[in-house]
Symmetry: C2
Subunit: 164 residues, 2 copies
DNA sequence: ATATAATCTCTCAATGATTGACATTCTTTA
DNA sequence: TAAAGAATGTCAATCATTGAGAGATTATAT
């Protein structure tokens, strides 16, 4: 039935912790997140791009270090051209998810803020994720959860170093 | 400077483990993964969709339980229409990443296999991720890593339940 | 057997997001 | 004050995606 491909025996013999497991588990989780984001975008009549941009605006608004998001910063962060960025922000603004505010100190730049509508939107979007997270959390002790948080933080630190 | 939005103080006072941390950390990791995938797709002259499809084909080819991927299954998994799926597979086949093989037992279905070129492609794609994972792993004991694996597996289990 | 329904993949015109070069507005530097 | 630089926006062309349907194959019922 299955034509014999080169037998890519994916699991080496000595793999107590699951060397492969990490990549597989992380990739699968990533795919699930993307699926949920995709579905949410669809129900809201938005695109995945729009939702990702919206989240970035939200996160930047929360993180005081960076200041509010700007089209230029978002453009670089999302690897979009200026035309696409403008169109994306137009959609988000037209649907009332974000506001564009000219900066007072440098009138070239535009500050992006999430509107009230976006708050509910984000809540809805993250509800299933939050529920899943809670359900998963419930099965671990505090000490174990501390380990997981440490690991996630460390992963993120490492991943941001992979900017070529 | 920052016009005072409703002060969404994101961190409740009592948050020993980081109730928020989980969502933030997971979202950020997701964004990093997507960025790497996006960049890789760009260097290969592919689209993010194509890369995601390629990975799905690869994973299915490894996981003997399900059998090789088919356009229909991939279509559902990726929430694409048939037209988009065909176009995506056309691109992947034309660039030599996958092969389409008519199934012998049911000649309506097509089996998708990754070509040799895709192997190298996948290796390149996952190299930085693997390196990051290894670097992160190195800072944890075996017991701790077991906890993380358990958590990731549990998260995936919970997330797949969020199929509405 | 034979027709009918169901399944799987693909085609194609229409839609619409993205690209890439350029324009516009504003700031900084010489 | 002029010129260079920076941030955002405009617009025609490009190309992925949609959505309805066709074609080919298998399953079901009469």
């Amino acid at each position: 039935m299955r034509d014999t491909d080169s037998p890519s025996s994916s699991l080496p013999a000595d793999d107590p912790i699951g060397l492969q497991s990490f990549a597989v588990l992380l990739r699968r989780m990533n795919a699930e997140f993307n699926r949920i984001a995709q579905e949410f975008a669809h129900t809201q009549g938005l695109h995945l791009t729009d939702v990702q941009a919206l989240i970035a605006v939200l996160d930047a608004d929360d993180a005081e270090e960076t200041g509010p998001m700007t089209p230029g910063r978002l453009r670089k962060q999302m690897n979009l051209t200026s035309g696409a960025m403008t169109a994306c922000l137009d959609r988000l603004e037209k649907t009332g998810h974000i506001r564009r505010v000219r900066a007072a100190d440098d009138r070239r730049v535009v500050h992006l803020h999430y509107a009230q509508a976006a708050k509910q939107v984000a809540r809805d979007y993250f509800r299933p994720l939050a529920q899943s997270t809670d359900a998963a959390r419930a099965r671990f002790s505090d000490d174990e959860l501390h380990v997981v948080v440490r690991f996630l933080a460390e992963m993120n630190r490492q991943l941001t170093l992979v900017r070529r």
